[in-house]
C-alpha cells in the first residue's frame, strides 16, 4: 500500500469510519469499490514473513494463570467444527453439547469461571446440518456457522452457490463461510473475484460472511495478500485461511500476511474485519501462538470472538487437558473429558 493508494481511497470517498466502542464488528464491513492499487504493487517477502512468524511466538511467553486465561479465551474464539462426509444430525448434536459445555465441571470450578457461561465462539457445519445445530444450540446464544458455495472446492455454478448460501441462512445460520474461486486469483482476474464475492455477500443478507481464501491453493503470499484485499473490498466480514481440506492449511506466515492486509485495509477505509485461521491447528500451543500473533500485529480487539475465530475440531480437547493440569497439578487423560 502506498501513499498514492491512500489518496485514491479518499478520492473514491472511502473515509475513515468510527469503530463501535465495544470493538465489535456488529456494523459489518460495507466494502469498497474494487481498488487494484491497494494491492497490485504490494510486496510480500516470504523469507521475512517466515522469520517474523518463527520468532514472534518465541518472543512472548504466557505462563501459569495467564496461560489458563489465554486458553479460556481461545475457547471463546473457537468455531467448533465438523465438516466430514459422515456427519449426521446426532453427531452434530453431540458437538453442540460440547460447544455449550466445553470444559469438565471440575475444571470450570477450579478456574473460578462458573458464572461466565463459557461456550465456544460458534459451531461450524455443512448446510444440511444447520437445522440440527440450530435446534441443539437453541437458547445458548451460540451462533451456527455454515460453510457454503460448493465447499470446499467451490467449483459449482454461481447461481447454485448463491442458492446454497440462501438455503443455509434460511435454515438459521448466522454466519456463512464461503469459498472463493481460486482460478480467479491464479489468473489475476480480480474483477471476477470481486463480483463473485460481492454477490455472495448480498446473498448472505444479515448473516456475517467469512471468506475462505484456501491459501494453500494460492501458494504465494502475494496472492494471499491480493485475495485478502479483494475479499475485504467485496465486503467480507472475516477473512479465513483455509477449508481444512487443502494440502497446507493455516500457517503463521500466511496468517501474518492476511493480518497485515486486514490492517492496511482498516488504515485506508476505517472498516474493521475479522480473521479466522482454520485447519491444521490442533494443540493448546497453537491456540496461544495464534493469539500472540493477533495481539502483536493487531492488538487486543482482535482477541475477542467478534474479530477472531479459530477454526478447529481437535484443539479443544488439548486445551481441556492443559486446563485440567492447571487446575489439578496432575497431567490429564482424555478419557476423563467429554468427547466433542
Amino acid at each position: 500500500m502506498t501513499a498514492e493508494t491512500v489518496e485514491l481511497a479518499h478520492a473514491l470517498g472511502v473515509g475513515a469510519a468510527e469503530r463501535p466502542a465495544d470493538g465489535s464488528n456488529a456494523h459489518r464491513n460495507p466494502g469498497t469499490p474494487l481498488m487494484l492499487e491497494m494491492f497490485a504493487a504490494h510486496a510480500v517477502n516470504r523469507s521475512a514473513a517466515e522469520r517474523r512468524a518463527a520468532t514472534l511466538v518465541l518472543r512472548r511467553s504466557v505462563k501459569k494463570i495467564w496461560q489458563a486465561g489465554w486458553l479460556v479465551n481461545a475457547i471463546r474464539c473457537i468455531d467448533l467444527t465438523t465438516l466430514a462426509g459422515d456427519d449426521t444430525a446426532d453427531r452434530v448434536t453431540r458437538l453442540c453439547a460440547k460447544a455449550r459445555r466445553p470444559l469438565a465441571r471440575h475444571i470450570v470450578e477450579g478456574l473460578g469461571i462458573a458464572e461466565m457461561n463459557l461456550t465456544t465462539g460458534a459451531v461450524c457445519v455443512y448446510p444440511t446440518m444447520v437445522a440440527a445445530a440450530v435446534r441443539a444450540l437453541s437458547g445458548s446464544g451460540i451462533p451456527v456457522a455454515s460453510v457454503a458455495t460448493g465447499f470446499p472446492a467451490g467449483l459449482m455454478p454461481l447461481p447454485l452457490r448463491l442458492a446454497e448460501i440462501r438455503y443455509a441462512v434460511d435454515q438459521g445460520a448466522a454466519e456463512i463461510d464461503i469459498v472463493i474461486t481460486r482460478e480467479h486469483v491464479l489468473n489475476g482476474n480480480w474483477s471476477a473475484l470481486y463480483d463473485e464475492v460481492c454477490a455472495m455477500r448480498e446473498a448472505c443478507g444479515p448473516a456475517h460472511m467469512k471468506a475462505i481464501l484456501a491459501t494453500g491453493d494460492l501458494e504465494t503470499l502475494r496472492n494471499v495478500y491480493a485475495a485478502s484485499m479483494v475479499a475485504m473490498q467485496a465486503g467480507a466480514d472475516f477473512i479465513k485461511t483455509s477449508t481444512g481440506k487443502e494440502g497446507i492449511n493455516a500457517t503463521l506466515p500466511v496468517s501474518l500476511v492476511m493480518l497485515r492486509a486486514l490492517r492496511d485495509y482498516g488504515d485506508l477505509t476505517g472498516h474493521v474485519v475479522g480473521f479466522k485461521p482454520a485447519g491444521g491447528m490442533r494443540t493448546a500451543k497453537d491456540a496461544l501462538n495464534w493469539q500472540v500473533l493477533m495481539k502483536e500485529e493487531l492488538g487486543n480487539d482482535w482477541l475477542s470472538p467478534h474479530l477472531f475465530r479459530l477454526g478447529a475440531s481437535s484443539m479443544l480437547a488439548d486445551i481441556e487437558r492443559q486446563l485440567d493440569h492447571h487446575v489439578t497439578g496432575r497431567y490429564a487423560a482424555s478419557s476423563r473429558h467429554a468427547l466433542a
Partner: protein, 790 residues
C-alpha cells in the same frame, strides 16, 4: 499478585503476565564462588587477586568478584599457552577436532546455564541469549571441529601463528569468545583471552566447561581485567597473533602498540551500518528488520543497521509502520521470557547513549520512543530529521537508536550509505533482484544482508571494510586469519638506502637523445612537484640517469588519480586479463631495452635476461588469475545463498624493494591490478628507472589512466605519506625493518590493511615471487546474504 488475580481479570485485559526464567541454579553457582574468581591459567583457576565487582545491569546487584589481571598474570598465561602450543599443534587434526567437538557438546549440555548467566551478566533478554547467542556458540564449535579435522587437506602449507592474544567486548560475551577461540584452536594455536571487564562471567564458566570436557591444560587461558590487562596481553612479546573486537579507537591503539612486532593482527571494530529501504520493498519486512538489527541486543551491536536510509516515496508509510512496531516492543527485566529489550550493559554506557541523543535533539532530531522502566534501561528510539551531518548519523551510539534519513534515487542511497568512515555491514530491502545486488556490490561493507538483517553463521565470514577493521571471522576466510603462510626471512636485512642527491651529478653521458624519467600520474607523465631530480647510480656507483624527486603533493595527486580510476575494479576479469596480456606482449617487444636498463644497474647479461623474462611470465600468470580468483557460496542456513565475493581493496600503496628493480615492481603491482585495485607505486629507490620505463608499456597496452601511478623518490617518506593517507585502503611495504614498523604505526589513522616485509627477504625470481597469497592480500571478502523463497 498471582493469588488475587482471576481468570476474569486476565480475560478483561489479555496481558501476557510475568514469565520469569528461574535463575536459581546460576545464583547458587555464583554463591559458591562468593570468594571471587581467579584467572584460568594452565588448566586451573588461580586464587582470586585484586578483585573488582561485576554487577547485574538490570538490577545493579553485585554478581561476583573477578580478578584484575596484572602483567605477571598475563606473563603466566602466555607462558602456559606457549608451553602447550607445540604439542597442541602437533596433534593430528582429528584429535583437535575431537576436543572442539567435545566443547560444542558440553556447551550444548550447559546451554541454559550459560544463557541465564549471560543474561544476568550482560542484561540482554533471555530470549536472545537462549535462542541466538548460545546456539551460535555451539554452531561455531561444531563448524570449527570440522576445520580441525580437514585442516591438513584444505590448508596444506599453512601453520598456526602460535600463541593468540584475544580481547573481546561485552556485547556478545560468550559468542565473541567462540568466534575467537574456535578457529584459533582448530588451527593449532593456543589462546590467552581477556573478556570484557563488564561481562567476564560466561568466559570463566566456559573455562570450567573446557576443563570438564578435557581440553589439555594451557591450550585455553582466561585472564580477566580491564583495558590495562588487555594492553598487557596485546603488547606481550610472547603473543604471535592479536585478535581484537571492540571500539575503533582501541583498535587504533593496538595497531600502533604492536607496529613492527611481527604479530599478526585482525580487528573487528565499530560500525555505523546503513539500512537501505527502497520503494519496492516489503515495508513490513523492513520494519521487522529494524527490530532485528537496530533494536537487537539493546542496539549494542557493531553491525547494527543504525542509519535507516528510506526512499522518499515510502517514508510516510514506513515511518507509520515503524512507530506502530516500536510501541509493541517490551523493554523490561531481561530474565522475563517476553522481554524484547533488556538492560544497557552498564550505567556508563547508558550515560553515553543519553548524551549522544541529547546532542542529536539539540541539533534538531525528533525522537519517537517506546517505554522503558527505571534503571539501566533505554527505550527503543527512532530519530527522524537526521541529516548526514548530524552527530547521530556519524557517531556510533551503541544503543537502541535508529536514525532516519531519506533518499531520492539508488545512486543517492549508495552515496549516503558509503558516507561513513566505517564499513562493517549493510542491509538492503528491495524486491527487485537487479537493484538489490547492484547496491550490494556498491556498498563498502564486509557483510551485506538483502531483505534480512543480522544473519550469522559460522560458515560465513564476518568482518569489515575501512575503519571497521580487517580480517574475517567464520568460514574459510576466518580460518585463514588464524593460519600463516611460510614467511621468507633475509640472510641480511634490507639496508637503509643511501641518501638521495638532488644536485647535478657527474657526467651521465650516452650517445642517444636524452631521456627524462618523469612521474606517472593519472596516465600522464608529470614532472615532480618540487622540481628537483636525483641521480640514479648504476654499476660502480656511476650516475646513469635522473629520476624525479617525488614529494607529498605528488603522492596526493597520484592518490586522487587512482580514486578516479574506480571503474577498473568494476571491469570484468576478462577485460583486465586482456590488458595485462597486452602489457606482457609490449614488454616482450621491448625486452632488449629493459635488459639494457638492468645491465646499467649492474645486472649481468644473464641476470638481466632472466629478470625480464620472469617479469613477462609473471604478468601472464596474473593475467591468467584475473578472471579466476573466485569467491565462494557458503553453506549457511537453508533457503539462503551466502555469496563470498573477493573484492579489491581499492587504492593500494606499494613501496617496492630495492632489489629486482623490474621484477619486484611487477611482482607486487600486477597481482594488485589483476584483482581490480588501483595502485600508487614507489619503485626501487636506488633503481627506479626500470619502473618508469614501464609507463610507456602501460600507455601502449591500453591500461586506463590512474590504474597504475608511479612516484619516484625517497621510499620511506613517500610510503609514510601513503600510509597516513585516509583515502588509501591498503599499503604494501618492502623496505627496511624500521620502515615497516613506521608504516604499521602510520597506517592506524584509517586502519588500512598493511603488508610489511623486509625488502631483502623474498626471492622474487623463485617460488616466493608469486602466488595466491598475493591475490588474497589484494582482496577482501564481502559476504552477501540472500534469503530466497516464494
Amino acid at each position: 499478585m498471582n493469588s488475587t488475580i482471576t481468570i476474569a481479570d486476565i480475560l478483561a485485559r489479555m496481558e501476557y503476565g510475568p514469565a520469569p526464567e528461574d535463575p536459581s541454579i546460576v545464583s547458587d553457582w555464583l554463591t559458591r564462588h562468593q570468594a571471587g574468581f581467579g584467572h584460568f591459567i594452565d588448566g586451573c583457576f588461580a586464587a582470586p587477586t585484586d578483585p573488582f565487582e561485576v554487577a547485574n545491569p538490570a538490577t545493579g546487584a553485585p554478581l561476583a568478584r573477578v580478578s584484575q589481571g596484572s602483567a605477571a598474570d598475563v606473563d603466566a598465561a602466555v607462558a602456559a599457552a606457549r608451553a602447550a602450543q607445540p604439542k597442541w599443534a602437533a596433534m593430528p587434526g582429528h584429535e583437535r577436532a575431537r576436543h572442539l567437538y567435545a566443547l560444542a557438546r558440553h556447551v550444548q549440555q550447559h546451554a541454559r546455564f550459560l544463557a541465564v548467566l549471560e543474561t544476568m551478566d550482560n542484561g540482554k533478554p533471555i530470549r536472545e541469549s537462549r535462542d541466538i547467542d548460545i546456539p551460535l556458540v555451539v554452531r561455531h564449535f561444531y563448524h570449527h571441529a570440522g576445520w580441525a579435522e580437514i585442516l591438513a587437506d584444505e590448508f596444506p602449507d599453512a601453520r598456526p601463528h602460535g600463541v593468540c592474544g584475544q580481547v573481546i567486548p561485552w556485547n556478545f560475551p560468550l559468542l565473541m569468545l567462540a568466534w575467537k577461540v574456535a578457529p584459533a584452536l582448530a588451527a593449532g594455536n593456543t589462546v590467552v583471552l581477556k573478556p570484557a571487564e563488564y561481562t567476564p562471567l560466561t568466559a570463566l564458566a566456559f573455562a570450567g566447561i573446557a576443563h570438564e570436557a578435557g581440553l589439555p591444560k594451557g591450550v585455553l587461558n582466561i585472564v580477566t581485567g580491564d583495558g590495562r590487562t588487555g594492553a598487557a596481553l596485546t603488547g606481550h612479546d610472547g603473543v604471535d597473533k592479536v585478535a581484537f573486537t571492540g571500539s575503533t579507537e582501541v583498535g587504533r591503539q593496538i595497531r600502533r602498540q604492536i607496529a613492527g612486532s611481527g604479530k599478526a593482527l585482525t580487528l573487528e571494530l565499530g560500525g555505523k551500518s546503513p539500512f537501505i529501504v527502497f520503494a519496492d520493498a516489503d515495508l513490513d519486512a523492513a520494519v521487522e528488520g529494524v527490530v532485528e538489527s537496530t533494536w537487537f541486543n539493546q542496539g549494542q551491536v557493531c553491525c547494527a543497521g543504525a542509519r535507516l536510509l528510506v526512499a522518499e516515496a515510502v517514508v510516510p508509510r514506513f515511518e507509520a509502520l515503524l512507530k506502530a512496531r516500536l510501541s509493541t516492543l517490551i523493554t523490561a527485566d531481561p530474565l522475563d521470557k517476553s522481554t524484547d529489550i533488556g538492560a544497557i550493559v552498564h550505567p556508563v554506557q547508558l550515560a553515553r547513549i543519553r548524551a549522544l541523543v541529547a546532542q542529536g535533539v539539540a541539533e534538531g532530531a525528533q525522537l519517537h520512543q517506546g517505554q522503558a522502566p527505571e534503571g539501566c534501561f533505554y527505550p527503543p528510539t527512532l530519530a527522524t530529521g537526521v541529516a548526514p551531518a548530524s552527530t547521530l548519523a556519524c557517531e556510533e551510539i551503541f544503543g537502541p537508536v535508529a536514525t532516519l534519513t531519506t533518499f531520492r534515487t539508488p545512486s543517492e542511497a549508495v552515496a549516503l550509505a558509503n558516507n561513513t568512515r566505517y564499513g562493517l555491514a549493510a542491509t538492503i530491502w528491495s524486491e527487485n533482484i537487479n537493484l538489490a545486488i547492484d547496491i550490494a556490490a556498491k556498498v563498502k561493507a564486509g557483510v551485506v544482508w538483502i531483505n534480512a538483517a543480522n544473519l550469522f553463521d559460522a560458515g560465513a565470514g564476518f568482518g569489515g571494510y575501512r575503519e571497521s577493521g580487517f580480517g574475517r571471522e567464520g568460514g574459510r576466510e576466518g580460518m585463514g586469519a588464524y593460519l600463516r603462510d611460510a614467511r621468507p626471512t633475509a640472510k641480511k636485512a634490507e639496508a637503509v638506502p643511501v641518501a638521495l642527491q638532488a644536485t647535478p651529478a657527474d657526467a651521465i653521458g650516452g650517445t642517444g637523445i636524452d631521456r627524462t624519467a618523469k612521474l606517472y600520474v593519472g596516465g600522464r607523465q608529470v614532472r615532480p612537484d618540487c622540481g628537483y631530480s636525483y641521480a640514479v647510480l648504476g654499476a660502480k656507483e656511476r650516475p646513469i640517469g635522473l629520476a624525479g624527486l617525488g614529494n607529498r603533493k605528488d603522492i596526493r595527486n597520484a592518490v586522487e588519480a587512482a580514486r578516479k580510476a574506480q571503474g577498473w575494479g568494476a571491469q570484468t576479469g576478462h577485460n583486465r586479463a586482456q590488458i595485462l596480456y597486452y602489457t606482457a606482449e609490449n614488454l616482450s617487444a621491448r625486452a632488449v631495452e629493459f635488459e639494457a636498463r638492468l645491465k646499467q644497474f649492474g645486472h649481468s647479461a644473464v641476470a638481466a635476461r632472466d629478470e625480464v623474462e620472469i617479469s613477462i611470465r609473471r604478468i601472464f600468470w596474473y593475467a591468467a588469475w584475473a578472471d579466476k580468483f573466485d569467491g565462494a557460496v557458503h553453506q549457511t542456513k537453508s533457503n539462503h545463498v551466502t555469496l563470498a565475493m573477493n573484492e579489491p581493496l581499492g587504492t593500494l600503496g606499494i613501496a617496492c624493494p630495492a632489489r629486482a628493480p623490474l621484477l619486484g615492481f611487477v611482482s607486487l603491482v600486477l597481482p594488485a591490478i589483476a584483482m581490480g585495485n588501483r595502485v600508487v607505486a614507489i619503485p626501487s629507490q636506488p633503481h627506479p628507472l626500470a619502473a618508469t620505463d614501464l609507463y610507456q608499456v602501460f600507455d601502449t597496452s591500453d591500461l586506463p589512466a590512474g590504474v597504475v601511478n608511479i612516484v619516484t623518490g625517497e621510499l620511506d617518506a613517500l610510503a609514510k605519506t601513503l600510509a597516513e593517507h585516509d583515502d588509501v585502503e591498503g599499503i604494501w611495504y618492502f623496505g627496511t625493518v624500521e620502515g615497516g614498523t613506521m608504516i604499521e604505526r602510520a597506517s592506524a589513522g584509517n586502519l588500512k590493511q598493511t603488508w610489511t616485509e623486509d625488502g631483502a627477504a623474498r626471492d622474487w625470481g623463485g617460488r616466493d615471487g608469486q602466488g595466491q597469497a598475493f591475490l588474497s592480500r589484494a582482496t577482501q571478502v564481502k559476504n552477501i546474504w540472500i534469503p530466497y523463497g516464494e
